[in-house]
Amino acid sequence: MRHVGAIAGRELASLFVSPVAYTVLTLFAVLAGFFFLSNVLQFQAYVERMQAFQAMEQLEGLNLNDHVIAPFLQTMSVVLLFLIPGITMGLFAAEKANGTQELLLTSPITVWELVLGKFLAAFAFVLILVALLAVFPAILLLYGNPELGKIGAGLLAMVLIGSVYASIGAFASSLTSNQLTAFFVAFVLLLILLMLGFLAELGAAGGAVNSEGVSGVLRWLSTAEHFESMLMGLVDSKDLVYFGVMSAAFLVLTKAAVESVRWR
């Protein structure tokens, strides 16, 4: 496993010498600022309205965690849906287009080292994105007192969903030598995964999915199911297992796809 660091390091460095990393970071920061501001302003307007009506009960129920930070992170998780495929699209596709895949596959490294190195580079980038996000709840700490535990759970949920997205992005990139194709394959996969729970409900309503088992599996596979409860501060080991299993499963598929060069 000693090559993993070298591969991850090179990948990260090459992200940061190309415009990709900076474009993504800028876009992410701008969107985060925009959505954060809009959530805060909405919250403020709501509080003022409730005060005007003297609706003490509603006011009691309001808090920064559930009404500013959670919706903010929820929105940003949708932004990740677009941005992470942008980061991962080159992981393997660029090596193939460049001819550098021949260097990697004729070097004394294992395919696992290669896959893990690539994934870790993307995961490190996810950590940078989440660190950027953490700034916004920190601003709230200056003016109010949101619960730290809930913020932590929310950020952890972002890291975990980012890990699944990075793993799926890596898989998409390993299928093709065209980065644009890799981007869209990853994006569509992520979208489907996000909406599986919704799909199960639709199916149940329409009678298409009438077995409890199938709709249960669909719902379990959906990222949204596991993400949302964690966002509300509920860190359940079942959800942790889900994120771990999903990330690992797509890394296994990635390894198979990289190795398939040799089967053909």
Partner: protein
Amino acid sequence: MIEARGLAKRYGDLVAVSDVSFTVQPGEVVGFLGPNGAGKTTTMRILTGFLPPTDGSAVIDGHDIFTDPLAARRAIGYLPETPPVYPEMSVDGYLGYVAKLKDVPRGQRKAAVDRAIERCGLADVRRRLIGALSKGYRQRVGLAQAIVHDPPVMIFDEPTVGLDPIQIREIRALICELASARDGRARTVILSTHILPEVEAICRRVIIMHRGRKALDAPIEELRKQGSLEEVFARTTAGDVAVHEPEAPVQEARA
């Protein structure tokens, strides 16, 4: 040393390489010739571990490519047709990275990179980005990555493409020096090229591939007796005779 035993590669019905066997001893530089599509690159990719053969096996410096693939790959320096370089990296950074991939111990990496840079004449551009280099320099960077870990076996796919005559002479001299045991270590070199004079200048033995089979394997000396290398090449790869009777030209060569 390279030992290829009955290598074959099939893609469905398409036979890319069939029953290719040869041995290359340390100190030998073998010219690997053949028309485009003859199976040269496929054979080299099998030897370097990039592709597994459908049949047969190979031993690189005593390591079987199936049972001990990592050790076999560690023993090989490979320059593919397109130099496998990252345009966004500096020459120094890139060679350092390759040295890590090829298991050059940490303490020796800098010296290994310096030696490869000096041997390939890259000292002037070592801090430049590879993407900003001319084709010739990029080719030399490709050559440098193949020798950075000082492997006992080297496989070069058209190493002098895109170089000017002076660079070509330098690279040829370098390949000869690598193969000779002047520093006490004899290395094995396979050189694929379309430039026949290059083969005559560097190699002592020639293997000609034709339609996926080994059509000829003989020392240059013997071929010279039959006329120019160009004539031998044309004769070997011309008719279907050579395809169905791959042994015939070899016997002819040894006669």
